[in-house]
Structures are given as structure tokens and as C-alpha cells.
């Protein structure tokens, strides 16, 4: 085939993508930049306002609150879920009977639709009749009786001090995806490395620390970055479980506030500005992660 013909065939095959890409990515990105500098509510004409939206974000306390909530939540949720997945993967990687069964059990929650798992956990975390507090209550009562303390089961989603912890607890239930990735990575660690470490007199901890973790560090980095990006956009669970950021804006997450601005208050220009700040935050966080972890991530074939 000659050059022009090859080119035509190539473009023809990717033409669905070209249409979709132009319509749903290139144009929206440009439009979104423009809107972010405009007053725009669908019904009245669009009015360019320069930096007014961005300036307003600087002084919008609910916006600050949503950014703070999201950063704090991400800071805890991502490591906690990664650690949970890692512990499960370590256990599943032991040479024991019934591993296929356990693997299925731990994996299943991660394919439960978000809306279904959200209403389920709403009920599990119910302060009065939820399973968690039903189980916690007798334990705390025993402790109280013995130690003379006054512990009470937390209000979880209705107590602003506990909402984020409650949501993080819920997220540890659905770590099956990362667990599978870690499990695959653990299986790929060459046995010879462990044998060499044993010859050098390394115990279980030293093997985990000096052999296993470095060998699976690329997967850890990958899930860390994907986890960050996903958690910064945390939305559905909060929308369903704690509408309006209740209690007291404690669960007003970034994407939630953005959605309210866009589709509830119809402040689409303002929401567009929010979206671009979110993009910058994600890029900054990703770059920060890549920089700070460069020393710790081991890629085979790079030498040391």
C-alpha cells in the first residue's frame, strides 16, 4: 500500500474515535475553559466576567471546606484502602488450602454497584439499629462496666466527627480490584530472590521489606496514583449517603459541591472554574507522588 492509502485506511478505522474525541473531549475542554471565565446559567445569555469566578472561589468558604474535606479524606482513604488490599493479598498469597474461595469472597464486594453498597452501608452504619453498632454496643458496655468508662457507639454518618471515618470504613470493603493487582504482583516475585535472602539469613519481615515491597512497588505506585485521582472525584457515595454534605458540610466533597453548583444552582461558569482547579490539584498531586516516590520504586532492568 502506498502512503496516502495507508493514511486513509488508518483514519477511516479510527474515525469513530475522532468524532467522539472532537465532540466530547476537545470541544468541551475549550468550552469549559471559556465558561470558567463567564457568568453562565443556561437560561440567560453568557456574560464574560474575566477572573471573577476564580476570585470568588478564593473567598467561598463552602469551596474551601469542600477542598479541605476532599484532601483530608484522600490523605486517609487512599493509604487505608491500599493497606487493606495489601494485607488481603499477602494472606491470599500464602500457600494454604481454599485460597480460591477466600479470593472470591474478598473480591465480590468490589463489584457491588456503588448505589447498592451505599444504601447497604447507610443501613449498616445506622446509629440505633445498624449491624455495626449492634455488635459494638455490648463490647463497649462490657468495657464500661469493667473500667468505669462511658463509651458509646459513634453516630457514624450523623456525627460530623465520624462521617469521614465511616466512609473510609466502607471503602475498605471494596478493595478487591487492588487486591487482585497486588496478588498478581506478589506471584511474579521470583522465588530465587527469596532463596537468596534466606541464604543471607533474612527473616520474614526483612524479606517482606527488602524483597517483596520493592518488587511490587510499581503496582503500589500505580494504585496510589489511580486511588488519588479517583478519591479526588469521590461523588456517588456522598450523594446517596450524606446528601447536601450533611452533617454540617462534613461530607461536602469537591465533586459534590461542583455538581450542586453546576446542576442545582445552575452556576455553570463557576462550576467550570471549580473543575479546572480540580484538574490542577490532581496534576499537582500526581507530580508530587511521582517525585517523592522515585527513590522507592523499583523497575526491573533499570540496574540496581
Amino acid at each position: 500500500m502506498n502512503r496516502a492509502k495507508e493514511w486513509r485506511a488508518g483514519l477511516l478505522f479510527i474515525s469513530p474515535f475522532l468524532v467522539g474525541f472532537t465532540l466530547f473531549t476537545i470541544y468541551p475542554v475549550l468550552a469549559s475553559i471559556y465558561y470558567s471565565f463567564c457568568d453562565f446559567d443556561i437560561v440567560s445569555p453568557t456574560v464574560p466576567v474575566g477572573l471573577a469566578n476564580y476570585r470568588e472561589l478564593l473567598s467561598d468558604e463552602r469551596f474551601h471546606h469542600s477542598l479541605y474535606n476532599t484532601l483530608i479524606f484522600t490523605l486517609f482513604a487512599v493509604p487505608v484502602t491500599m493497606l487493606t488490599a495489601l494485607v488481603l493479598a499477602f494472606l491470599l498469597n500464602m500457600k494454604l488450602k481454599g485460597q480460591a474461595f477466600y479470593r472470591t469472597l474478598f473480591f465480590l464486594p468490589s463489584i457491588v454497584p456503588l448505589v447498592a453498597s451505599s444504601v447497604l452501608w447507610l443501613w449498616l452504619l445506622n446509629p440505633d439499629y445498624g449491624l455495626l453498632n449492634t455488635m459494638l454496643r455490648p463490647v463497649l458496655e462490657t468495657i464500661n462496666a469493667v473500667a468505669g468508662t462511658g463509651f458509646r457507639p459513634p453516630g457514624w454518618l450523623v456525627d460530623a466527627n465520624y462521617t469521614k471515618a465511616a466512609l473510609i470504613l466502607m471503602s475498605t470493603w471494596g478493595v478487591g480490584g487492588s487486591m487482585i493487582l497486588y496478588l498478581a504482583a506478589l506471584g511474579d516475585v521470583p522465588v530465587t530472590l527469596y532463596e537468596a535472602a534466606e541464604l543471607d539469613g533474612a527473616g520474614a519481615w526483612r524479606k517482606a521489606w527488602h524483597v517483596t515491597l520493592p518488587m511490587i512497588s510499581p503496582v503500589l505506585l500505580f494504585t496510589l496514583v489511580m486511588g488519588l485521582i479517583g478519591t479526588f472525584q469521590y461523588f456517588s457515595q456522598a450523594w446517596i449517603m450524606t446528601p447536601n454534605g450533611q452533617p454540617g458540610d462534613a461530607t461536602l466533597f469537591y465533586a459534590l459541591y461542583l455538581f450542586y453548583n453546576a446542576f442545582l444552582y445552575l452556576r455553570m461558569g463557576y462550576a467550570s472554574a471549580q473543575a479546572w482547579i480540580l484538574f490542577l490539584v490532581i496534576v499537582a498531586a500526581t507530580m508530587l507522588v511521582f517525585r517523592t516516590t522515585r527513590r522507592f520504586v523499583y523497575y526491573g532492568g533499570e540496574g540496581t
Binding site: P16, L91, K95, L108, S110, W123, Y129, M226, T286
Partner: protein, 293 residues
């Protein structure tokens, strides 16, 4: 390599305890959906469904409330309170179209990116990959306005048509698979005068059944679980998907836990069934794509 006995015992113990922890929410979901309302104030809750006589005998024998008599009342009420069968049909329609559209378009595009050789191909491919980093919130508003301009708000079009235009993630997945198809096969077919479309349909696709299964499965799951899309585009209750219907149930009848869990159970069951039929595809798909659920 067998584990030393102590380590094996500790490992087994941890696995059993954690299994209970991970299964408990499922047990609670099903139990609540089957229990009569008055059971719910009893602590500790009974988890074993049994005929009334058996439940009573068990209670007399052990002195503890372990079993309850199951009822289908929550299912009957939940399913009629909001039109669950209708939501189910809507969801199935969206899922089916999404799966067909995704497999067709993403594989065609992937053929253009992975099998054909042309100038500018790789640059464009990397541009596509780079845009996957863009958070959906950035494009969400203008895309909504486009559909509004077309007069297609409150239809399934905004949820389904994009699937027919290829999605970067699935294009990437197909392309990686196509790269493993022997080049000789493709070249030989070209020598015989087969057109590219023929080669795509007759050689590359039949050799890529695992990739098709993976993409189909994940596309289905994505559409089944999607909440934000329907939330933005579907206004009429008659168009709602299960996700949206269940969320609406929570908003309107959030204190009816029995019924809410019944509807949630109905939404979860098909996914669990699908998982047991396609377990290998699930696990393999996650491993090859790095996709987290």
C-alpha cells in the same frame, strides 16, 4: 513451598475471620430484605432464615434468638412502590447497547491504532492516552450542553451514543491484545487481497475472543453501575435506571430499610451471577488492564 505449621494456622485464622467480616454486609443485606420489620429492633439480630416452628425450637434449645421466619413482603412492596421491573428493563437496554457499541467501535479504532501502519498514528494514540487523565468534571458541563442542544436530554442517547464512538480505555485494551496477533497472518490475508475490514472481522476479531469478553464484561458492569450519567441526563422516572431508581428510593422512602435492601438485593444479584459465570474473565481483565472496580 509449604508453610510451617504455626504460620499456616495463623494464616488460616486470619483468612476465616476476615471472610466473616467481608461476608457480614452481604448477610445483613439479605437478612434485612427478608426479615419482618419487628425483627429489626432485636439485638443481637438473627441471621438464619427458617420456618417459624424451627426458629422457635432453635430459640428454646439455645436460649438465643438465632433464626427468623422470612417474608417476601419487602420485595413485593419495594418492587411496586417504585417500578423496579421498568428500571430493570431500562438498565438492560442501556447496558446492551453500551456493550454492542463499545465492542464494535473500540475494536475498530484499536485496529487502526494497533494493526494498521500510518503516519501520525502513535502521536494520536498517546494524545488519547493522555486525555484519560482529564477528570470527567472538566468536560461534564459542555457535554451536557451539547446533548441539550440536540434535544436529547431525558433520553438514553447521552448514555449510549458515546459508547459507539470508542472509549480510550477499551481502545487501549483491544490494541494491546491486537499487538499479539501474528503479523504474518495479517500480511498473508492482505496478499490474498482481503480488505482491512475483512481482516478485522475474519482474522483479528476471532483471535481476540478473550479481549472481547473482557471489554464486554467491563462495559456492561460500567453501564450497570453508572450513577452520575443517569443522574445528569434522565429526568423522567419512566426513564430511570436501577441505580437512579434505588437512589430515588433512598431519598423518598429512606426509612423503609427492609424494602430498600430488597431493591438493592435485586440490583446486586445479576452482578453476582455474572461474576460466577465469568470469574476468570474478571480476574484476568483486572490483571491485564490494571482496572480497579
Amino acid at each position: 513451598m509449604k508453610q510451617p505449621p504455626l504460620k499456616a494456622i495463623l494464616g488460616h485464622t486470619a483468612l476465616v475471620v476476615l471472610s466473616f467480616v467481608y461476608v457480614l454486609p452481604f448477610a445483613w443485606l439479605v437478612t434485612t430484605s427478608l426479615q419482618p420489620d419487628e425483627e429489626r429492633s432485636k439485638a443481637p439480630p438473627a441471621f438464619i432464615p427458617a420456618p417459624a416452628a424451627v426458629a422457635k425450637a432453635l430459640e428454646d434449645a439455645t436460649g438465643r434468638h438465632l433464626a427468623y421466619e422470612p417474608t417476601g413482603a419487602h420485595y413485593v412492596k419495594g418492587v411496586t412502590r417504585v417500578p423496579v421491573p421498568l428500571f430493570f428493563r431500562n438498565t438492560l437496554l442501556v447496558c446492551t447497547l453500551t456493550v454492542i457499541g463499545t465492542i464494535l467501535s473500540s475494536s475498530l479504532v484499536a485496529y487502526g491504532f494497533g494493526v494498521l501502519q500510518w503516519r501520525g498514528r502513535d502521536v494520536l494514540f498517546y494524545v488519547m492516552l493522555a486525555t484519560m487523565m482529564l477528570p470527567g468534571q472538566v468536560t461534564m458541563i459542555p457535554v451536557f450542553l451539547i446533548w441539550r442542544e440536540f434535544g436529547l436530554i431525558n433520553t438514553f442517547a447521552p448514555l449510549v451514543i458515546p459508547a459507539f464512538l470508542g472509549s480510550p480505555f477499551f481502545i487501549f485494551l483491544f490494541r494491546q491484545f491486537f499487538l499479539t496477533v501474528p503479523r504474518d497472518l495479517v500480511e498473508a490475508a492482505r496478499m490474498d487481497g482481503a480488505g482491512e475490514l475483512r481482516i478485522w472481522a475474519g482474522i483479528v476479531m476471532p483471535l481476540s475472543l478473550p479481549a472481547i469478553a473482557t471489554v464486554g464484561l467491563f462495559a456492561f458492569l460500567g453501564a450497570w453501575n453508572d450513577f452520575l450519567g443517569p443522574l445528569i441526563y434522565l429526568a423522567d422516572q419512566s426513564r430511570y435506571t436501577l441505580s437512579l431508581g434505588l437512589a430515588m428510593f433512598r431519598t423518598q422512602y429512606g426509612s423503609e430499610y427492609g424494602q430498600m435492601m430488597a431493591v438493592a438485593t435485586l440490583m446486586v444479584i445479576p452482578i453476582i451471577v455474572l461474576f460466577f459465570f465469568a470469574q476468570k474473565t474478571f480476574i484476568q481483565g483486572i490483571k491485564t488492564s490494571g482496572m480497579k472496580m
